[in-house]
Amino acid sequence: MTGDGRRALTGIKATGDEQPLGPGGAMAGAATPPGGRTIDPAAVPDLVERFRRGERRALSRTLTQVENATPAGREALRALFPSSGRAHVVGVTGPPGAGKSTLVNRLIAEWRGRGRTVAVVAVDPSSTLTGGATLGDRVRMMATYADEGVFIRSMATRGNLGGLARATRGIVWTLDAFGFDVVIIETVGVGQDEVEVARTAQTTLLLQVPGLGDDIQAIKAGILEIADLLVINKADRPGAGELKRDLAMMLTLGGHAPPGGWRVPILETSAARGEGIGELADAVEGHLRHLKEGGEWARRERAMLLDEIQGLVRGRILAQVDRLFHDDPAFDALLARLVARDWATAVARSTT
């Protein structure tokens, strides 16, 4: 499958102003202020070699380049992308405070116990006002700091909508290429926002919690469609049974049947107490088996890569449109006519 993806991606010829390949693809020449950790592209072969030797420092540095879509990041990803496509990418989404980070921490321990290595990408929104961000998911995942089989990376959305950053896929591919068996993406999802994580992960867990009132309608139509597994976390609280019945009903009424005949299970967990974690991990693995056996894995890979290419192409077209607005004297003239309320001339000009 990666073979197809590679061909498709490299088939797009870069135009004059370099746009990064793949993740961050839609990025129009990310400006890099002085300072920071930009690496010279000439240093990439060495970086990649250290990466392939399993040096975590090299992984970490590569992730920064990919996140910032630097020329070095593009180079590195070009080298590493063929080695990706092996990890099971698991999305964990749900409202803020639902217990996603706490649950991810439990899942890490569970999978480590089963001999798997685990990477986590924890995505939090950037402030639209200042562009800054507080990335606090790690707080709940500090237990594994000494374990070489675990790697946790926080990232901000940097103005991207849809719950992920533009570079999130590149980050996932990089961790995948490093050899992690499971890559978990944690992201806040409150509305229809979480579609993007579902387009990036092979298995998506949607968390709900009891006790937010009988406001089951608060779960927007369509949101259940992105879930491969529904998780009722904080099941130690009252109302879990009721929520489960309501969710089951919604699944039925929605006539919602993901392709390939997968029946979305509803699981109950208490991440705080560590209850229901083994069952959840089993269900996630069950979904993986389902994906691999039914050909759904390949279908999702195709859909994901198609989405990436579409984003790349759209980004390029948008960048061209932006250039038109900024550097085209004809456009300035047209705007001047409109400001003068000279509609007729403006329209005549805009249609020539």
Binding site: G24, M27, A28, A30, A31, T32, P33, P34, G35, G36, R37, T38, R56, R57, S60, R61, L63, T64, N68, A69, T70, S126, S127, T130, G131, G132, A133, T134, L135, G136, R138, V139, M142, Y145, A146, F151, I152, R153, S154, A156, R158, G159, N160, R166
Partner: protein, 137 residues
């Protein structure tokens, strides 16, 4: 602004004191200054801090400490950072330090030492001025 590289800061609280109001004020101030701030919580060991800094590839580490354990904890953190190939990270310390300790803390390679009551804007400016600049030898 959306796609620009941003200054990444790890704010950590080594030592055993259990409240982190001060650290959270710093986190918010740096975020409001447009930085991406990774918070790791209270009671962090030097190993935890170094491990998080490596995985997050931060430009800056801000250590907030009240417990008076700085002379024990800071050298260990700096040693682990060096061992991990992170000598270029700008490290700051905030807390209550006896005057005679300040030169010793700076000698460890901690570039900024801030006492209580330091205006937040001063810390922000310090970070902006120091990120990406090698230590003045």
């Amino acid at each position: 602004m959306a796609d620009q590289q941003r200054i990444r800061v790890l704010v950590a609280k080594p030592g055993l004191d259990g409240h982190d109001r001060g650290a959270k004020v710093i986190v918010r101030a740096l975020r409001d200054a447009g930085m991406e701030v990774i918070y790791t919580g209270i009671r962090q060991t030097p190993e935890m801090i170094a491990s998080a800094a490596l995985q997050e590839d931060v430009d800056v580490i801000g250590l907030s400490i009240l417990s008076g354990a700085h002379m024990a904890v800071f050298p260990k953190i700096m040693e682990l950072l060096r061992a991990g190939g992170m000598d270029d990270v700008v490290v700051l310390a905030g807390g209550i330090f006896p005057d005679e300790d300040v030169p010793k803390i700076k000698a460890m390679g901690i570039r900024g030492v801030f006492g209580p009551g330091t205006p937040l804007s001063e810390i922000v400016e310090f970070i902006r001025a120091n990120v990406g600049r090698p230590e003045a030898a």
